[in-house]
Amino acid sequence: MRFVFKTTYDQDINLLKHEGYVRSYGILLVLALVAPLLLDEFYTGELTHIFAFAVCGLGLMIATGFTGLVSLGHAAFMGIGAYAHGYFLKLGVPWVFSVVLAVMLTASIGTLFAIPVLRMTGLYLAIATLAFAIICEEVFTGWKSVTRGTDGMFFEEIDLFGWIIEPGSLPFYYVLLILLVGTLLMTANLLRTPIGRAMIAIRDSEISAQSMGVNLARTKIIVFGISAAVTGLGGIMLAHKTTISAPDSYNILQSIALLLMIVVGGMGSIHGAVLGAAVVSVLPTIISIIKDWLPSLQDIHTLPTGVFGLVLIGFIILEPTGIYGMWRKFKLFVDVFPLYRRRTFKRQKAFLKTERMR
């Protein structure tokens, strides 16, 4: 059992709270840095795929996992980010500025969408986001002069101030890694400052968040804007990884995949988004390997969708806290052995919520 002797408030404020953090995240960073040198091209590609997905998942996690705003249409923001970026590139905007502009545009669309919609909560909000995603998919298909419709928009190399980076190359991996780490750090910063605490307060009890001085409408709108921006960045990363942006990459199934990601990874944690992204990226590969073993499954084209659904249901029933929740339980069990209490993670039913007042 570790006992951290605290002598300054900074020890609680810092992201790396004690040497254990420095060690484990240090090792993780080194592994991420040397991975493409050790792995072959296919696995490096899979890793960049995970990075892109993880950023998309983080975007949804900010809205759904931290603030409790359920969205069934976040794939739309991936699409808006990717198409805007592609369009700006075509206009000749340098790569970095194009990314920034596209992310800002996605944030503004997210904010504008949020202003009327965030009066709704729960199921109604989910349906509104679903409708938004369907409309966006139609726009992506129909607005051919910008999106090239079902032909798709192609993303070739990244032109970083004259330095040409081919997709799948070593520098490409590092560009995506930097974007992921940057997003992770910003999200972590968000959570340790007033806005992050306000988000969690809104998720757990709107009424008491309000009486603690949180402006519900404003905070929700800001959060939705941030969430859209991050998801848009993820969409840009994914478009570069797959070199193409077509409307069917932003359909309902993609939105569900994002939701699957954060539920399987672990609701309400940054780790959850990354772990979930890993699962969602790797699952299709595993399914195709299984198909090789069992040729009778070859003809079932909907197999991935079915397996995704089963995994989602399995986690909701058996482990609602996701993979990261499992890890936290295991870690606490070891940390406080033999004093572990199951109740620590037990979800409580509060029958007397003052929410009734609404």
Binding site: P194, D204, T354
Partner: protein, 255 residues
């Protein structure tokens, strides 16, 4: 208008359809006072709280705080004005630690903006340290040291009650609304609550309005008591006066 009153409620009423939950109540609270609202179930006590903290819109009447009309102020502004409250059934953030819950109480004192928070600029760190110092003062006052890093879900009911009072104090209020601070507590814990209330009043100089059923606690800490029934004011005076009031006795005993 009563001179020097911290809170002045005039002819306050709220109607939900045909139900007159609060029906023309007027009272004022002086600075440094413990003002208790008592009454049978459904008397409209908590509704008065919800009107003051602007969760409900008043149908008629007005509420003035420090002479400023807050009858139509937005609900999230109330905390910044200096009114904090607790809830009857505890509205803590359960999936967070005591420390995180108390830090949320610092929200009205947020001076940093979104961009600087995203980048965690040095002045954000300084602000966080200052928030933490304030929180530690409250932890000290309420003896919560050993619970600092515990999750709310792991804490017994009595401690949660105290944490909720602590969270309200972290907003640095001048007026504290306590909704049944002793409900669900043991006799000993109730005694503790009466000490906290004395401390909050005397050491921090916070004015307290409290809804309470435990007459022992009411008589212990209150300066003045207001009795309500069916949305109307029955009696207002010292605890002894109100307990002796015939109308109050009739409302409670149904005689």
């Amino acid at each position: 208008m009563t001179a020097g009153a911290i809170l002045e409620v005039t002819d306050l009423a709220v109607h939900f359809g045909g139900v007159r939950a609060v029906d023309g109540v007027s009272f004022h609270v002086m600075p440094g006072e413990v003002f208790t609202i008592v009454g049978p179930n459904g008397a409209g006590k908590t509704t008065v709280f919800n009107l003051i903290s602007r969760i409900y819109d008043a149908t008629t009447g007005s509420i003035a705080f420090h002479g400023e009309d807050i009858t139509r102020a937005p609900a999230h502004r109330i905390a910044a004005l200096g009114i904090a409250r607790t809830f009857q059934n505890i509205e803590l953030f359960e999936h967070a630690t005591v420390l995180q819950n108390l830090l949320i109480g610092r929200h009205p004192h947020r001076r940093t903006n979104l961009v600087s928070e995203l980048l965690f600029l040095p002045h954000v760190r300084r602000a966080e340290r200052a928030h933490r110092e304030k929180v530690e003062e409250v932890i000290d006052l309420l003896d919560l040291q050993s619970y600092r890093n515990q999750f709310i879900a792991n804490l017994p009911y009595g401690i949660r009650k105290v944490v909720e009072i602590g969270r309200a104090l972290c907003t640095e209020p001048t007026l504290l609304l306590l909704d049944e601070p002793s409900s669900g507590l043991s006799v000993e814990e109730t005694e503790d609550v009466s000490f906290w209330i004395d401390d909050i009043k005397n050491d921090l100089g916070v004015t307290i309005i409290m809804v309470e059923h435990d007459m022992g606690l009411v008589a212990d800490v209150s300066d003045r008591v207001m009795a309500m029934n069916e949305g109307k004011l029955l009696a207002l005076g010292t605890p002894q006066e109100v307990q002796a009031d015939e109308g109050v006795q009739r409302a409670y005993l149904g005689a």
